[in-house]
Amino acid sequence: MSTEILMPALSPTMTEGNLSKWLIKKGDSVKAGDLIAEIETDKATMEVEAVDEGVVLDLLFKEGEVNIPVNKAIAIIGDPNEKIEARKEAPVEKVIEEKKIVKNIETKIETKKDEIIDTPSPKIEEDTNLSSEEITMRQALRDTMAEEMRKDNKVFILGEEVAEYQGAYKVTQDLLQEFGKERVLDTPISEHGFTGLAVGAAFKGLRPILEFMTFNFSMQAIDQIINSAAKTLYMSGGQINCPIVFRGPNGAAAQVAAQHSQDFSSWYSQVPGLKVIAPSTPYNAKGLLRSAISDPNPVIFLENEILYGLKGPVNNDINFSIPIGKANIEKDGKDLTIVTYSIMLQKSKEAALRLKEEYNLDVEIIDLQTLRPLDTETILDSVKKTNRLITVEESWPFGSVGSEIANIVQRDAFDYLDSPVIKVNSADVPMPYSLSLEKLYLPQVDDIINAAKKVSYIK
């Protein structure tokens, strides 16, 4: 009986892999535990072991082939005397595979639909410096850090696994090689300590970029972020500023459960003294990160793990920046406004497409880009035009960014509203592990559509 070796999912968010190297060749005998290939994932290059025994009948991809979807057969092993066509899969494997495919679609949905609906926002369209090549969000972030480090010797990066490991999510890839260990520092797993250290370094005039492996771990250091970084300029009567960027993935990844899937956007947005940014595309990630690194204040830069692989054009001018505090009208519309940020931009765009097709609603989408200071002007202008508003975000509902927007809009545009503002948030529970429950927890396209129907009084 022959068995297919499938491209394995080697990280929670991996949807495809690159075949770096075969460690076997056709005709080899392999047994369980033998190394068969090196696969490059979205996070690292890893060796893959065989789980079955047999002779390698065929290698279906060549070394160096890229973007091979998870669960795609990459090799066949089995009895050399048996015909390949005759193979049958074991029921258990079939179940596992189905589950993986569901998950695959789940994480793929944004990028897949994105290809269809991603007409660049007006700003990008107007950009005459747009690259012809599309790059990933992680590369956009990496390139921007490298560009700023080349410009200013005071910029350095520290965090867990940022140097030798090349970044837990490869966002700092090759920075150690270019800038050396004095400027790219691996820290111990010691958030409270190294965050305080970076804050002290910023007080003294350096410009640290501090990577939290994920923002969940920033809870260990939140005292230093709020009590030290955010408040000292004020407490010192304007003497001591803190030019630091706290960056890393925020929000849910894929099935990493309650302690590793939390959106902190409204937590940090509550704090005077901090600026809070949440990019949604490679294009704005580049422009916004440059502004964050150049800013003399502490900036919370909330990335999203699932978006790291998102590709798009960028502006490669090393001085290109997007101002902090400016939202982007991602799509013009007249019937209702969706205000969103980060990964929910993708779902909002998908919802807008369906709302047009199914209900003939012309949706305006505002991508906030910066959460603090909030671009209330753009939001209010849009509401005054469309008279209906829904907010879409991944955070918990209580006191979310949408809560503040709803407050501002009822206060400053009350007479323009034709219906109550509706917020679309994650469920008000800790993030569950199970795939089915995780899907229920997170805002989905259908939730956005239902909210849009409600504010439009469509049954």
Partner: protein, 320 residues
């Protein structure tokens, strides 16, 4: 040991006295309602900061806790503006926005004034990181109360400082009480200076009532750190005569204990040495006393006459 000149003795005496008179006056203003909030006095601990002061360079940095008035005076900052911060006026070092616990002077490399127990330790370590990153020979002196020595981030900072050989001198001011809890009720193991041992950080215990002992230890430790050997810990045994803050009646200790420490008053020790060595006469010392009293009186007057911050100041200095 650093060789002390005659002028050094006078400097030490003057600074210690200035700190004490300042703190007494601050207590008075607090009682009059001119100073509010938390106010932690340094009386009794003067030899610590003044001893360290004798061994430092102008470009060295310093960061300390909320018991910071004495530290600022020792740094050579103007008592008028320190007192004006205590009274929350616009001439204060933080323009009235920081208060007793949060004072800074960037131009004097004084980085606070931190109100969260232990938080200044990673921060001081980061300032030391900057000295090293910039290739400077300066060091950062980071003061730690005995209470903070049971706080986790302190050990994270010790680890980082030792790992990266940062030029930071940790000075534990062990005044025997973290608020109302004595060290032996809070710390498992009373040798706080040994708490860097696991990280390879040398430590030393010093009599903090005697400024000459402090100078000797600080001189040695400062050289060690400045030469690029990494961090060093000095535990200075000291005592605060007053409560933790102005609102603390200090009922957790006996009068005898306090009186006992007052027998070794740090200012009296210096004074006796000055007279013994015939560096100054009684009359000359009396003149210093009078001048100091006058200077602090003027500071108090300045601080109570300085205007309150303008209303528009509420919204400034949030962002640069």
């Amino acid at each position: 040991m650093k060789k002390l000149q005659k002028a050094d003795y006078i400097k030490m005496y003057s600074f210690m006295l200035k700190i004490r008179r300042f703190e007494e006056r601050a207590a008075q203003l607090y009682g009059m309602g001119k100073i509010g909030g938390f106010c932690h006095l340094y009386i009794g601990q003067e030899a610590v900061v003044v001893g360290i002061l004798m061994t430092i360079n102008k470009n060295d940095s310093v960061v300390t806790t909320y018991r910071d008035h004495g530290h600022m005076i020792a740094r050579g900052l103007d008592p008028k503006r320190i007192m004006a911060e205590l009274t929350g006026r616009e001439d204060g070092y933080s323009a009235g926005k920081g208060g007793s616990m949060h004072m800074f002077s960037k131009e004097n490399n004084f980085y606070g004034g931190h109100g969260i127990v232990g938080a200044q330790v990673p921060i001081g370590t980061g300032i030391a990181f900057t000295h090293k990153y910039n290739g400077e020979k300066n060091i950062c002196r980071t003061y730690i109360g005995d209470g903070a020595m049971n706080n986790g981030q302190v050990f994270e900072a010790f680890n980082l400082a030792a790992l990266w050989k940062l030029p930071v001198l940790y000075i534990i001011e062990n005044n025997k009480y973290g608020m109302g809890t004595s060290v032996d009720r809070a710390a498992a193991g009373l040798d706080l200076y040994k708490r860097g041992e696991a990280f390879g950080i040398p430590g030393e215990k010093v009599d903090g009532m005697n400024v000459f002992s402090v100078i000797e230890a600080a001189d040695k430790a400062g050289k060690y750190v400045r030469e690029g050997n990494g961090p060093y810990i000095i535990e200075v045994q000291t005592y605060r005569y007053r409560g933790h803050s102005m609102s603390d009646p200090a009922k957790y200790r006996t009068k005898e204990e306090l009186d006992n420490y007052k027998q070794t008053d740090p200012i009296e020790i210096v004074k006796a040495e000055i007279l013994k060595k015939k560096i100054a006469t009684n009359d000359e010392i009396e003149k210093i006393n009078k001048d100091t009293l006058e200077e602090i009186k003027n500071a108090a007057e300045f601080a109570t006459n300085s205007p309150f911050p303008k209303e528009s100041e509420l919204y400034t200095d949030v962002y640069l």
